[in-house]
Symmetry: C3
Subunit: 335 residues, 3 copies
Amino acid sequence: MFTLAQIVADVKGELHGDVDMDLTIRSIATLKNAYSDELSFLSNVKYKGSLAGTQAAAVLVSASLLNELKAPCPLIAVKDPYLVYAQLQQKFYPMQQAQGNIHPLAIISDTATIADDVDIAAGCVIESGCVIESGSVISAGCLIARGVHIGKHCLLHAGVKVEADCQLGHRVIVQAGAVIGSDGFGYAWSGQSYMKIPQVGRVVIHDDVEIGANTTIDRGALGDTVIHQGVKLDNLVHIAHNVEVGALSAIAGQVGISGSTKVGQGCQMGGQVGIAGHLNIADGCQLAGKAGVISNIDKPGVYSGFPAMPHRQWLRISALMSKLPDVWKKIKGKE
Amino acid sequence: MFTLAQIVADVKGELHGDVDMDLTIRSIATLKNAYSDELSFLSNVKYKGSLAGTQAAAVLVSASLLNELKAPCPLIAVKDPYLVYAQLQQKFYPMQQAQGNIHPLAIISDTATIADDVDIAAGCVIESGCVIESGSVISAGCLIARGVHIGKHCLLHAGVKVEADCQLGHRVIVQAGAVIGSDGFGYAWSGQSYMKIPQVGRVVIHDDVEIGANTTIDRGALGDTVIHQGVKLDNLVHIAHNVEVGALSAIAGQVGISGSTKVGQGCQMGGQVGIAGHLNIADGCQLAGKAGVISNIDKPGVYSGFPAMPHRQWLRISALMSKLPDVWKKIKGKE
Amino acid sequence: MFTLAQIVADVKGELHGDVDMDLTIRSIATLKNAYSDELSFLSNVKYKGSLAGTQAAAVLVSASLLNELKAPCPLIAVKDPYLVYAQLQQKFYPMQQAQGNIHPLAIISDTATIADDVDIAAGCVIESGCVIESGSVISAGCLIARGVHIGKHCLLHAGVKVEADCQLGHRVIVQAGAVIGSDGFGYAWSGQSYMKIPQVGRVVIHDDVEIGANTTIDRGALGDTVIHQGVKLDNLVHIAHNVEVGALSAIAGQVGISGSTKVGQGCQMGGQVGIAGHLNIADGCQLAGKAGVISNIDKPGVYSGFPAMPHRQWLRISALMSKLPDVWKKIKGKE
């Protein structure tokens, strides 16, 4: 808990309104739910109507909007209230720190190398040759196969599976149930049956990546599947073998990326996007939800639909689709 | 096992045809597979042709269809044969009852409160402060984090993960591998990277909910993600942070619902539906499989397609789509 | 490791070029990444440009292309280089062989029958009445419920869940986190609520099937869900109750198949395909990624789109969709 004075100083905000700066702020809440000892924030101008009814002690707002806002409480003007909300929330709820607690019922190979200040919870299995660096927290029931390397200050939630020889960088967060390093979907047709192609590459996950619950990332067939620095993957995402996802890309739930496709840096994908195999997606592409990509995308921009096309074109075509009955009537009328 | 007389009395059915009422009925089977000591049912009139060949001891049918059916066996007329099938199947296969068996190799925190008649199977991890009420069955390998509350007569199948502080009501069933309470996909862009927003809400699941295998439900960012009474979620469904699903809604496999969207009561969704964030879906909406919803739906009804539209409009447009080659020819012909 | 002479003899290839046949080949790599003691292969003529820069000791190529290829290294002509790559990779990386190692911290029921030469890793739970035949490998944290039967030489990766009474044939591979035998999504509406229909069938998986990470296969409501011989399922696939998938079908990531649908033999499906319930898909169908099937498919062929249609028709319509703005302009111009 922090005083309002501490918070205002910390976020370098400008306080507008009359308030007791020694007030202890308990936490952050939405405009609607905040109590009088809580802070709130307005990050989307469309919700400015909710300001009127809030009981928050103070509200973070964008400096640029300050003049058009009316509120029953003091306002703290900052450049980006949503970012400041994130920063404060990290102060209120700091990441779980490893304490060096190894649960007596974690099963750890004698040949694993575990740093002193690592937490390993009950029910984990850490196989031979694994390395877990300092500050990492391995929650209950994680299954870490032989030869896996986990960097510093990682957090694996419950029941994560990391298959043999995969690598995680530093500060990687993996949500519950995710699978890293399953075999890619690789077979050769023999004439009578599918012959399995041993998948001998790894998954390599760079620093600051977060991976969603029950997401699956396949190991490479030859060479590695690579998730670059700062990538965020949501839940139930499917990353096939030898995919490469460029740094700082953010990929929403249930997206599927087929084998050997390379996604550029700073891309964003909405939910349920699908991308065919062996494609290149340029840096800075935004793919709207449910988009289906079946050819390379060479230029940054917003793309939608199936097959994916520039978003403006898709908007135009979608609008015209709803006029198809009219089109048809007119054509029939002219016959 | 029950006699035919017991069954007919139990379902308040009207028996038509000549049969030994003391016959012991072993179980229920499809018309095609039933043996002579099994009961069957006809719930879809399109299958009435299968009546002719059935060897079932008797068949549950709709009273309203009785006159048009011909069968080689007695018929039991009831109002809703499918519902009666469900009721009887619950008699033949009652839910697993907890016996108070705690497996010696379940790992249970000293500060957890477990009712006397709870089953906890091998390999489970129950962390500090959890409460599990009477009659609940926790199958092998479930991972229940600190502070979780599980109500009465719940059934968690193998390997379910419930993250910290989440709440399950009474009679909640969770299929294997589901994740309840993973972090929502919440970041603020700092200009250089995505800054994680601690997700400090919970998942609150009300009574009589069922959750499918490997489905994931994210905890709220602020405030809770809420699944109301009687909701049924199929496998591999993705429920994002702060979503609210109204009572008695049924959601099929691989549906994804984005953050803060509110789904009304009594809604139904086909497989692979996607709903964008911050939307409202009215009570009583039916969304056909693969529908993509990108704006509010204010009225009950059937909706299809992407972007989702009233189902009849979608049918009309889909039909016209297949005529596009004709349209084009005619237009070109008139130039 | 094998000499080049051994490899050429083994694959019955024809060597073109000058090379030391006693050279030891360490492994197989892509044209781009191969070192001078590695073999590579050219399976897609579109990559023939990469031959020029390869450092591989030798390259497997199609005999039919031999005359048009130029390479800085010897070529080994075979009928199907991709198949030969698969065969050699199986030589270089033979499947993990069971050694009869039962980890002391695996929890195995006294009434389970485990063959002598089965491996069971730490953290597994094998319940009453299970049978595991010889040569099978059960990786860490697998949860095998009562009455499950697992055939010979199966490989279950970490954290697989197999629910009660399900059956796996021989040489079945299951990737991490998959769920076999969860309850189907079956309810009858009582007028006030959904009444659960006990799902009393099993999942029966035939020989040589492979199942992807976090894929879910529901048990039958009455009768079984059946995956026939040689089927390959990718990650995050959803197979509903009483589905039947015909032999040698291959189904890519995030496909969903609804209840009671029958998929023929030798079918192929791209990612994110959805198939409605109670349908028949003929042998030899190929469904392109994201296809949505809402009626029976009676003839083999390639199908795309939603609703799914013959692929050539879909190509034609997709092309015309992008001309809709033109169509509209012309129609408006003629008014």
